[in-house]
């Protein structure tokens, strides 16, 4: 079966993020970028399923600027067979991404779509659910285990109360949680091979998708600095402070 995975290019998780001085967003110019860690887990899952003989082809899809090609090359070095970049410099919000991904899915007809549960830059946690809704396909968000059985899949989801086990019909959309797998290190021979794998570049207009933003960012600012703590004399004072100053109880 064919699997489609989505990969997003984000600021490298080890880089300290800085807010732009004009408050319009965070600084990304000349900052080290990397694949969103949850997307890495998605690619890893697809590659493991291919190695297990369940999957025959993995298509990696990204939406964003030209440099997202590097992110797709990383996905291909991990084991994806080919890449598709929907290239745009526009600010693409979750609904726009979901519509673009749906358009690619319509074309590619995969039996399973694996996406990161959220991206570490905007933490929206929306695209996967929206793709599923747009397609009318079952979804399993926050997935920590998946086993495909013919036309269905047994999944384990991480929910507030614990683990939820479901069986979903395929085709379906799955979003990955941290514990689904531990992504591999890319090997040098595979970096070399990835350079030769096919990478298609499309424009949003070619897919007939309107990606105009529906949301407006008013301002981005640094979180307030933490001030020094205080020592309380006893439990009674602590409770009083929580009640009167922090107003949390």
């Amino acid at each position: 079966m064919k699997v489609l995975v989505t990969v997003k290019r984000v600021i490298d998780p080890y880089v300290k993020v800085r807010v732009k001085s004009d408050g319009t967003g965070v600084e990304t110019a000349n900052v080290k970028m990397a694949m969103n860690p949850f997307c890495e887990i998605a690619v890893e899952q697809a590659v493991r399923m291919k190695e297990a003989g369940i999957v025959t082809e993995i298509v990696a899809v990204s939406v964003g600027v030209q440099q997202c090609q590097e992110t797709l090359r990383t996905a291909m070095a991990m084991g994806a067979d080919r890449g598709i970049l929907v290239e745009t410099t526009a600010d693409v919000q979750p609904l726009g991404v979901a519509k673009l991904v749906k358009a690619i899915i319509d074309r590619e007809q995969p039996k399973l779509v694996i996406m990161g549960k959220q991206a570490i830059d905007d933490d929206s946690n929306q695209a996967g659910q929206m793709v599923s809704a747009l397609l009318g396909w079952p979804q399993s968000a926050f997935t920590s285990a998946i086993a495909v059985n013919g036309d269905s899949a047994d999944v384990t989801r991480e929910i507030d109360g614990g683990l939820e086990k479901l069986t979903i019909r395929l085709p379906a959309v799955v979003t990955t949680d941290l514990r689904l797998n531990e992504p591999r290190y890319v090997t040098l021979p595979n970096i070399m091979k990835a350079k030769k794998k096919p990478l298609e570049v499309l424009k949003p207009e070619a897919l007939g998708v309107d990606i105009a933003p529906r949301l407006k960012t008013l301002k981005v600012e640094e979180p307030p600095k933490r001030s020094a703590g205080v020592k309380v004399a006893d439990v009674a004072e602590l409770v009083a402070k929580l009640k009167n100053e922090a107003r949390v109880i």
């Binding site: 080890y14 000349n30 590097e70 090359r73 290190y185 890319v186 090997t187 040098l188 970096i191």
Partner: protein, 596 residues
């Protein structure tokens, strides 16, 4: 504790500017090597170094390699890290594609060596030596030996070692006594070798030793030494592993640093004699060893760069977080992190500027190595080889001497906290200390530089390089005022190098003892001035790059400042070193040995 982050931006900058990536793409077999590939490979290698090797550095140092009853266990986690390292294909980066390698150029291999060394020097000595064995076999081994041993050395299933030293034969290898007796189809090796790095361990299924030994009736001295391949386990004709060979690890050394790397005493032939195979022709072993030694010397130079970079990152992290005292001139208000204190900044700038200059010189040499090996034109190959030969002892000697200094500054920035082991700063100093010693001490490098490299050819290559350094003057003049002080410092320093070089050319034959007495100051002078030249080039490149749209101005502006610091703060040492070279020999030798 700090975490290693590969300095990808500076590495890419140095590969582009000093290895000259564009010229390398044009070389045969390098068409795939471009800036994109460099970026992708460096990024992945950096992840590996940070995620797998760096976390084992401290634990490996604390636990150390352990010997019991002839076996050696690498520190916990090393075997698994080695499995991952080889599975990721890093072991075969520069190896021939014929044997499963990727055949990538040294301008990529050397920066990766820097990363492995930054992350975990003790660990990466093992793959480095394996690469050295591949190199020696490729140049001198028979087709039969190559086919049998290379695939597994390239994949890393087997590791390699160099066996030169014996208790009485250290820097002077003419004293080697290990004997090789011919038998049908092979040789029997008997003798004791010491200081064998990764000579015994549990990370790979076989170990391939290259051993220097004497054949019966071989001439005395270095002309009677042959090279033998002696595997820990014999290898069957089909490539499978056979019986255990007669080699025993008698003990491992207790050392100042690189505790994670076992330094072995190997006893060959306690029983029937270890079975070995002659590599190349008889009595040419030392010459063969030097093919890989020269390459290994560049590698040790990169160990210096790597360990210095790691010490810098560690000290920087501490300087950014340690709060101590108020800023100079402030009597009230908040206390500040120590990075606000000018002397701490001086130390950080010194570390940073030295490292960037060392990296520039190392990567320049890597580019020369690629051109010397691959350039289609024989005359050009010769020119690049001469440049490489000249630079090799400088990269080895200068970068490692500075690594010790930089790691020592790293301890200094930590203050008392650096002297205790808990902060981890001391390990880098302890680990750095071996780099000026093995693969030829700094003294040996300096003798090589003044003798085979400068003296033997009347300074031709060295003076050609001096002339190349002078060519930069016009470019610096063209930029004008902002570069005026850099220009005058560089010009003075290049003069100092030329004066010292000419002094050596004049005195090398007539007064060899005097020349040898100032060889190390000359090596340091050479490195210091070459570093200044390259930092000035870096400054010019940064000044022009920063005008491009989307330029990384924060990085390029920092490069400009660092270059200026190097030229104004460190390069003036050249004048003193030059004076030492031309005037320092008599007082070095005036006191006779018995007067000490």
């Amino acid at each position: 504790m700090s975490t290693y982050t590969a300095p990808l931006k500076d590495m890419q900058f140095a590969i582009a500017e000093f290895s000259g990536i564009e010229g390398i793409t044009a070389l045969p077999g390098c068409s795939e090597v471009n800036a994109d590939l460099v970026e992708a490979v460096l990024a992945e290698a950096g992840r590996f170094a940070q995620g797998v090797l760096d976390p084992l550095n401290r634990s490996g140092d604390k636990q150390g390699a352990r010997w019991h009853d002839g076996s050696v266990n690498a520190p916990d986690g090393f075997a698994e890290a080695y499995r991952q390292f080889t599975a990721a294909g890093w072991n075969g980066l520069a190896a021939s594609q014929e044997y499963g390698g990727q055949g990538l150029p040294h301008c990529l291999a050397l920066p990766l060596q820097e990363m492995w060394n930054s992350a975990n020097m003790a660990f990466c000595l093992c793959p480095m030596l394996t690469t050295g064995v591949q190199e020696a076999l490729t140049h001198h081994g028979s087709r039969e030996l190559l086919d049998l041993y290379m695939p597994k050395l390239v994949s890393g299933e087997w590791t390699g070692t160099m066996n030169l030293t014996e208790p009485q034969a250290g820097s002077d290898l003419s004293a080697v006594r290990t004997a090789a007796a011919p038998e049908s189809g092979h040789y029997r090796i008997r003798g004791t070798k010491i200081f064998i790095t990764w000579g015994e361990h549990d990370m790979a299924e076989n170990i391939v030793h290259l051993v220097l030994a004497r054949l019966p009736g071989a001439p005395e001295g270095v002309k009677g030494i042959s090279m033998f391949l002696v595997p820990k386990y014999l290898v069957n004709a089909d490539g499978s592993r056979g019986a255990r060979n007669d080699i025993r690890c008698v003990s491992i050394e207790h050392k100042l640093g690189i505790h994670g790397s076992p330094t072995c005493v190997l006893a060959y032939g306690d029983r029937a004699g270890a079975i070995g195979h002659l590599v190349g022709e008889a009595n040419r072993g030392l010459e063969y060893m030097f093919t890989m030694m020269n390459h290994a010397r560049l590698g040790v130079g990169m160990e210096g760069v790597g360990i210095a970079e790691r010490a810098y990152q560690h000290a920087l992290e501490y300087a950014r977080t340690r709060v101590q005292g108020r800023a100079i001139g402030q009597r009230a208000g908040d206390r500040v992190t120590i990075i606000h204190h000018p002397d701490v900044r001086r130390m950080l700038m010194t570390m940073r500027a030295r490292i960037e200059a060392m990296r520039a010189l190392g990567y320049l040499a890597a580019g020369e190595l690629d051109r010397a090996k691959r350039h289609p034109d024989a005359e050009a190959r010769g020119r690049h080889q001469a440049r490489l030969d000249l630079l090799t002892p400088v990269v080895k000697g200068w970068c490692t001497e500075l690594a010790v200094e930089v790691a020592s500054l790293g301890v200094q920035i930590h203050g008392g906290m650096g002297f205790i082991e808990e902060t981890g700063a001391a390990q880098y100093l302890r680990d750095a200390r071996i780099t000026t010693i093995y693969e030829g001490t700094t003294g040996i490098q300096a003798n090589d530089l003044i003798g085979r490299k400068v003296g033997a050819e009347q300074g031709a290559t060295a003076l050609a390089l001096v002339a190349a350094m002078r060519e930069l003057d016009a470019a610096l003049a063209a930029v004008g005022a902002p570069f005026a002080s850099m220009r005058s410092e560089l010009s003075r320093a290049v003069d100092a190098l030329e004066v010292a070089t000419r002094w050596l050319v004049d005195h090398y034959r007539a007064e060899p003892e005097a020349a040898a007495a100032v060889a190390v100051p000359y090596l340091k002078l050479f490195g210091t001035v070459a570093g200044g030249w390259l930092m000035a080039r870096a400054a010019l490149a940064a000044a022009s790059r920063r005008e491009a749209p989307g330029a990384d101005r924060a990085f390029l502006d920092a490069k400009l400042v660092t270059a200026r610091f190097y030229l104004e703060h460190l390069l003036p040492e050249a004048a003193a070193l030059s004076a030492t070279v031309t005037r320092g020999a008599p007082s070095t030798l005036a006191l006779q040995p018995e007067a000490f």
